[in-house]
């Protein structure tokens, strides 16, 4: 019942929109009909209007234009009226009024819809422009008749303007003067003075341009205009004048656009209406000049999407003002909103356009889709807080992390019980009608996310809702979810993270994205065929043959939650898109053990997010599962076999998720590769995307910078270290880095941890680690523990900690003790791991049972344990948790850790002194170097041209110069913005000539330096670095003379005096 009701509702709305459009078309047709006179047209309009309104039967309209009045039949005024002025060139010349003769329920504006408001405005706008053209036409005709000698068109236009809009005429005159001056016409400069505010002789005239309504000024300006026309006529072609004038008139019409869009302070409503009008105006031939367009769109980008320099620089190349139309139409915002879209929404919106428009794009990237998305502006959360008087909660972030954690459930509770303002609710309701009852995902889109180097990966919530049931139920579910996402702003993890990044004092405004969940309905479930995340840089290489730039893909069947989070003991399929055939799992046993067993989906009947077993799903819905033959393989006779939908019995057989066919038989890998490639190139930064595939199309769900950490230098592994000094060694999955000065060691004994049987004790271990994290000297201790740190599901697999429990450690070590023939899976490539990389916490997996590995258990077991002293309340755990003070233990020893990826070796060594670590400066520089856009080689080219210029103008006889060379960075094409130009001059003249030469070159040097300053902002005493060598120098090969004819890096000779007569 409810469902059909909703459908009817939706259909009604669509009908309304169709009626409105019909009405608009009909009116447009009337206005363009050349066979009808004005009266007929206006009468036609009056008749065309009522059918476009919600209640046509009781709808009457009345149009007033100057002294003409046209009305519907049986016209009767009432108090329910919607009216809009007709303007010609900003003057009100008439009015259109629409009346309902009977009372109707209250909508947006009395009984009228807000769409109807927009419609009437559009109609009057069009009528206005019709009258404007009519007037133009009549002036034109008039002119033609009075001046037999056919004057040119532009003249007519100006004449017409004189009558109808002298203000505009003056603005155009002014532009013409500018234009003439710019063209270098001296005569115009006298006119220029007329407008010049600094001209003391004629101040009044300047004023008059601002107040042209005064009679005197008008005649004055008309005089000037005539002068201007005279001059223009002399110097410019008719076409040039006409083109310019018509362009200026058009630009002038768009003045309101500039006022709104060019202003960072405009509110959302204003921007929205302008973009909408602009969108419609284009269809009527109104255009903005390219430069104005560029200016406006940059302002728009900064105002709505984000104003980090890199983002704006990229975005302006791919976005047009029109592109915002689609965005704005699907945005919900509070009154007087000054909000933005937030990093996630902006990233996705821009990525979409990059994938379409980049010249690196290909058919693969162009085929990528974006799910239908609605947005709530970032100040929605502030408005929500204010409306519910929750201001106190904003101070939450200044509390200590423990109270934040304790109070977080309360915050969530309060938020979920708070309500939204009616305008937002109305927006949400419209949005739900637009979506229909498809499952939705609510994602946060934080403003802080677009800060350079901050990635709030998984810190804020994304929630799925089934969006089933009655409209009210759906609205309730939706607003609950949004409130929960809002509440996540005040969770402990994001706050901790913001503290660290120095972002805590920024107001956390958070936009919200509401997306259609990609997928298909299969039985009672809804899910995509598969989904996942992809990184353009691979930080977890399971084979030495995989390079960092080969990227990393994590794929799961169904919804992508499992690919992002580390839940329980399930495993996503990992693929390096650059080397798709080198898979992590090779043997059949590995494939069975480490392939995804569960699938996340939405249960449409129970209306909830669910995880079910892949095997159960296949049993029930194998045949309906979209794309299934690309997702699973059959294990039979102990080897993998491809499946085909036909002839596969899903109720029987051992199926395993491999994505083998997806890799070999589809374009998917190419698609992902091109996408990562295009995005990384255009964003100029490693990228991280989330995607889903419904069996037909690949959808991009998210795009952001990949947290990448610093690119660390490999450490030199010391040799000949006595065995008792080595704490551990490792040879698998080693990254680069060096740690020194480690004074404390926190060691969770894997065996003892495994023996804990009480669940609450297991949780207590995590809590104790969180406390140690606060007590121990920051970045001077390391954490060592069994299996996977931060395991959210099966706590036995590793200590249950979250990011804020470990953020002060210098290194996280996961110990994988062999359990029978099985080694626990470590945590590479998850959100948690990403946090480590980003926070610059080193990660090292230890496999103490591997052949030849040193794991000095005595030190862990025999050293005095400080733990009970540090945290007496946890003393019952003191045989599980060991805290060892290395400095007291071994006479001031410190732990140094050396890691070298190329050698695939890591060593933890106890030393008496600290070793030198990489200095952070060079690290950052290195990482910057890698991702700086290949600098356009303007610097050296320009320098080389300058050197050639100097040579060509240098008179060899006058200055006694025999040969002229350039060398160094200019010659080698490596010059940067601050480089000088190295010149080498073979000089054979006398002292006077040398003096002349030097002063001649000094002139060049200073002026080149100035132009370099203008180009780059770099300033020095002179750009030339001149080295003079003599015959003798060359003979003896002394000083710079060796550069001449050198075997390597020889100076390059330039021709002298070619430009002299």
């Amino acid at each position: 019942m409810e469902k059909s009701f909703n459908k009817i509702n939706l259909i009604n709305e669509l009908k309304e929109r169709a009626k409105e459009l019909n009405c608009l078309y009909e009116i447009q047709e009337l206005l363009n009909d050349k066979n009808k006179n004005t009266n007929e047209i206006l009468n036609g309009i009056i008749q065309a209007i009522p059918p476009g309104w919600q209640y046509p039967d009781i709808c009457k309209s009345k149009l007033t234009y100057k002294d003409i009045i046209v009305k519907s039949e049986d016209f009767d005024e009432s108090k329910w009226v919607l009216s809009s002025d007709i303007k010609v060139q900003n003057d009100i010349v008439g009015k259109l009024e629409i009346f309902y003769t009977q009372e109707r329920p209250v909508c947006d504006e009395g009984p009228f819809l807000k769409e109807e408001r927009r419609l009437i405005n559009t109609i009057t706008e069009q009528i206005g422009s019709f009258f404007f053209h009519e007037e133009l036409k009549s002036v034109f005709e008039e002119k033609k008749q009075t001046q037999k000698v056919g004057n040119s068109e532009w003249w007519i236009i100006l004449e017409m303007l004189k009558k109808t809009d002298p203000k505009l005429l003056i603005r155009i005159s002014r532009k013409m003067v500018n234009y003439l001056c710019w063209k270098g016409i001296d005569e115009a400069e006298t006119l220029f003075e007329y407008f010049d505010p600094a001209n003391p002789n004629d101040k009044n005239q300047f004023k008059e341009t601002n107040f042209p309504v005064k009679a005197k000024s008008e005649s004055d300006s008309l005089n000037i205009t005539e002068k201007i026309i005279e001059i223009s006529n002399k110097y410019l072609s008719e076409k040039e004048i006409f083109d310019n004038i018509s362009r200026w008139i058009k630009e002038d019409q768009s003045g309101f656009i500039v006022n709104i869009l060019g202003n960072m302070g405009s509110n959302f409503e204003e921007i929205s209406s302008v973009i909408e009008r602009l969108f419609h105006m284009q269809n009527q031939g109104t255009e903005l000049s390219p430069i104005r367009r560029k200016n406006l769109k940059t302002t728009l980008i900064r105002r709505l999407l984000g104003d980090s320099r890199d983002f704006v620089n990229t975005a302006k190349n791919f976005l047009e003002i029109d592109d915002f139309y689609e965005l704005i139409n699907k945005t919900i915002y509070p009154t007087n909103s000054h909000g933005k879209y937030g990093g996630k929404a902006a990233g996705l919106f821009l990525s979409k356009h990059i994938l379409q428009k980049s010249h690196f794009s290909n058919e693969h990237t162009k085929n990528i889709k974006i799910p239908k998305t609605w947005y709530i502006t970032s100040d929605g959360v502030l408005c929500f807080i204010k409306y519910n008087h929750l201001e106190d909660i904003s101070e939450q972030k200044y509390k200590d992390i423990e109270s934040i954690r304790k109070e977080y459930p309360y915050v969530t509770h309060v938020f979920k019980n708070a309500s939204f303002t009616t305008e937002i609710l109305k927006g949400l309701s419209n949005m739900l009608d637009d979506f229909g009852n498809v499952p939705l995902v609510i994602r946060s889109s934080s403003l802080l996310e677009d800060q350079p180097n901050s990635i709030f990966a998984g810190k804020y919530k994304s929630l799925f809702i089934s969006n089933q049931g009655t409209k009210n139920e759906r609205l309730e579910e939706l607003s609950n979810a949004i409130a929960e996402v809002y509440a996540s702003t005040f969770g402990p993890d994001p706050i901790e993270y913001r503290h660290e990044r120095g972002l805590i004092d920024y107001n956390e405004e958070m936009g919200v994205m509401i997306q259609e969940v990609v997928g298909k309905k299969v039985g009672k479930y809804f899910f995509p065929a598969f989904a996942g995340v992809a990184f353009s840089q691979n930080n977890y290489r399971w084979s030495g043959r995989i390079k960092q730039e080969d990227g990393l893909l994590r794929l799961v069947p169904g919804m992508g939650t499992g690919a992002v989070d580390r839940l329980s003991d399930d495993y996503p399929v990992m693929i390096a898109p650059g080397k798709p055939n080198l898979r992590v799992n090779v043997s059949i046993d590995e494939l069975i053990r480490y392939s995804p067993k569960n699938i996340d989906l939405i249960d449409m009947e129970e209306r909830c997010f669910k995880t079910v077993k892949v095997s159960d799903l296949l049993y029930e819905y194998g045949y309906e599962y979209p794309y299934i033959n690309n997702i699973i393989s059959l294990i039979s006779d102990n080897y993998l076999q491809e499946i085909r939908k036909i002839g596969t019995n899903f109720k029987k057989g051992n199926f395993v998720v491999t994505f083998n066919n997806l890799v070999t038989n589809t374009e998917f890998i190419k698609q992902i590769n091109s996408t990562l490639n295009v995005l990384e190139k255009e964003f100029n930064f490693p990228t991280d995307i989330e995607f889903a595939h419904d069996g037909e199309n690949l959808y991009l769900l998210q795009c952001r910078k990949q947290s990448f950490g610093k690119i660390r230098r490999p450490s030199k592994i010391p040799y000949n270290i006595p065995k008792e000094k080595i704490l551990f060694s490792a040879e698998r999955n080693i990254t680069n880095g060096t740690l020194s000065n480690i004074t404390h060691l926190v060691y969770i004994d894997p065996q003892k941890y495994n023996q804990i049987s009480d669940h609450s004790d297991l949780l207590a271990v995590g809590k104790a680690v969180g406390k140690l994290n606060k007590i121990l000297p920051k970045r001077q201790f390391i954490l060592m523990g069994p299996g996977r740190w931060g395991s959210r599901g099966d706590i036995k697999l590793g200590v249950n900690v979250s990011y804020s429990d470990i953020n002060n450690t210098a290194m996280l070590i996961e110990i994988a003790r062999k359990q029978r023939d099985y080694v626990p899976e470590l945590s590479f490539g998850t959100h948690f791991f990403q946090d480590l990389v980003e926070a610059d916490i080193l990660y090292l997996p230890l496999y103490p049972d591997d052949y030849g590995i040193i794991f000095n258990e005595d030190i862990y077991n025999d050293s005095p344990n400080m733990f009970p002293k540090l945290l007496p309340e946890f003393s019952s755990l003191s045989d599980v948790i060991k805290v060892i003070d290395l400095s007291s233990e071994s006479e001031g020893c410190m732990l140094n850790i050396f890691m070298n990826e190329n050698e695939s070796k890591a060593l933890g060594v106890l030393c008496n002194e600290a070793v030198e670590t990489d200095d952070t400066d060079s690290e950052t520089k290195q990482s910057e170097k890698i991702f700086v856009k290949p600098d356009p080689d303007i610097h050296w080219k320009w320098r080389l041209q300058a050197a050639e210029q100097i040579a060509s103008r240098l008179d060899p006889e006058r200055f006694g110069v025999k040969r002229f060379f350039v060398f160094g960075s200019t010659k080698n094409a490596t010059a940067g913005p601050g480089s000088d130009i190295d010149l080498l001059i073979h000089f054979t003249g006398d002292q006077n000539q040398l003096k002349d030469l030097n002063s001649w070159l000094d002139g060049w040097s200073v002026s080149l330096d100035y132009s370099n300053f203008l180009k780059t902002g770099y300033k020095s005493d002179g750009l030339l670095d001149v080295h003079v060598v003599t015959d003798e120098d060359i003979k003896n090969r002394t000083s710079f003379a060796i550069k001449i004819g050198a075997v390597t890096d020889a100076a390059r000779e330039l021709k002298l005096g070619t430009e002299l007569n």
């Binding site: 399971w542 084979s543 030495g544 043959r545 003991d569 080397k579 055939n581 080198l582 898979r583 992590v584 090779v586 043997s587 059949i588 046993d589 069975i592 053990r593 039979s636 006779d637 102990n638 080897y639 993998l640 051992n654 495994n754 099966d794 036995k796 359990q819 029978r820 023939d821 099985y822 626990p824 049972d849 052949y851 030849g852 590995i853």
Partner: protein, 428 residues
């Protein structure tokens, strides 16, 4: 890990020396059987996916083919050593001899890590391996099979390369092929069934009726499951099975005094033999600690999980009622525990006899390939029964005659058979 000095080949030789002493073999025989007859060392060049060349080191060791073509697997392993392969080849010679099938012993390997190779590259390694050794293998000389990190897919690539070069269809070149591609029926059942056939014969000798016995099984993988199936068919009752719980990282024993229901247990078991603990509890199984399997009041223990399970530390926990231990796994009893158990008069059916069902089935696969006629599962299993029974009886007779344990008898009898074949050919 201070076993750097451990050399598997040296310890295999030591074991052989003991048997040789008992058999009083002459020096020539010892020298001959202590070492492989032929060793092939070669390299396999392949072109990788990115166009570069890569070279892999590979082996084939044919320890002895006096009784028939050499037989043994091919391993892909990055840490492979020639001594491991030598030891395993020798072990195959004794295994084929103890069950008296007309095959010898061999083993091969490639030093490579499949984790570093794409499937296409692995295919090239397989084909490259065949190209290098094609003249020295074949249905009449040496028959490879899958082993560590190789599976039927690799075998099919190898077979295809062999057949391409030799220009015919010779499915008997390689065993372990899938059904329909020359594989044999009964392969999955063979090892588990073989264990129980050996057990049946042992019970016969002790004059115990299987239907009056109770057993405990360690492990619940493929082998254990089929062993229990046949044992149940013979009327025996299993009251306890243990299985590894991957989630908890420990094993549990599942006990039902009135006898476990194989079908219902399989339904709650994953493909690695892990039984779902909660579901088992719901089905009224007692869930005990994994070690408890050994302490049950049973007549028979079948360790079918992994090596070194019955040790000096725990052999005393074995219930006094236990009469027979059938080694389903490889080396489940340590040599020290072995001695103690013999003192207690517990009969141990040794691993390389008890779990030889697999290699017998490979032999059958090859036989069917060579005649290009395929038996039904029943035919295969009844022939398996015959082979296993004969093997057990002859080992047992030998043991009684010479007053030695089954383990020693099995070893000595197989060395004796190989030595005689070599002698009869006039080699030694």
């Amino acid at each position: 890990m201070d076993n750097k000095s451990y050399n598997p080949f040296l310890s295999a030789q030591k074991q052989f020396d003991k048997a040789a002493d008992l058999l009083e073999l002459n020096n020539a025989a010892r020298d001959f059987l202590r070492n492989p007859m032929r060793e092939f060392n070669f390299t396999i060049p392949i072109r990788t996916d990115d166009g570069s060349k890569k070279i892999f080191k590979a082996f084939r060791i044919q320890h002895n083919d006096a009784r028939g073509p050499a037989k043994g697997g091919i391993r892909f392993h990055p840490m492979e050593t020639v001594d491991t392969v030598r030891a395993l080849a020798m072990w195959m010679t004794w295994k084929t001899a103890v069950v008296d099938i007309p095959l010898g012993g061999g083993k091969g390997g490639v030093i490579c890590d499949p984790h570093n190779l794409s499937l296409y590259e692995q295919e090239q390694v397989c084909r490259g391996w065949i190209r290098q050794i094609v003249k020295n293998i074949g249905p009449n000389s040496d028959i490879p099979a899958p082993d560590v990190m190789t599976n039927p897919q690799h075998m099919l690539w190898m077979l295809d390369e062999y057949e391409t070069i030799t220009g015919g269809r010779y499915p008997g070149t390689i065993t372990g092929k899938p059904l329909g591609m020359g594989g044999s029926q009964g392969r999955t059942e063979a090892t588990g069934y073989g264990i129980i056939i050996a057990l049946r014969e042992a019970l016969k000798e002790l004059n115990i009726k299987p239907e009056n016995t109770i057993a405990g099984v360690q492990g619940f993988g493929n082998v254990a499951q089929y062993a229990i199936e046949l044992y149940n068919k013979m009327g025996g009752k299993v009251i306890c099975v243990s299985s590894w719980d991957n989630k908890d990282q420990k094993s549990y024993a599942f006990r039902k005094k009135e006898g476990v229901d194989l079908k219902e247990l399989i339904e709650i078991t994953d493909s690695f033999g892990g039984i779902d603990k909660e579901k088992a509890e719901n089905l009224a199984y007692e869930v005990l600690d994994g070690d408890k399997w050994i302490e049950q009041e049973v007549d028979i223990l079948i360790p079918a999980a992994m090596e070194n399970q019955i040790t000096e530390e725990n052999f005393n926990n074995i219930h006094p009622k236990v009469k027979i231990i059938v080694e389903g796994a490889n080396g489940p009893t340590t040599p020290e525990a072995d001695k103690q158990l013999n003192k207690k008069d517990i009969l141990i059916v040794p691993d390389f006899l008890a779990n030889a069902g697999g290699v017998i089935c490979s032999y059958f696969e090859q036989v069917q390939n060579n005649m290009n006629y395929y038996w039904t599962k029943d035919e295969v299993l009844s022939k398996l029964d015959m082979k296993m029974t004969n093997a057990y009886v002859s080992v047992s007779d030998f043991a009684k005659q010479n007053k030695m344990t089954l383990k020693n008898a099995a070893y000595v009898i197989s060395v004796d058979r190989v030595a005689r074949a070599s002698q009869n050919r006039g080699w030694i």
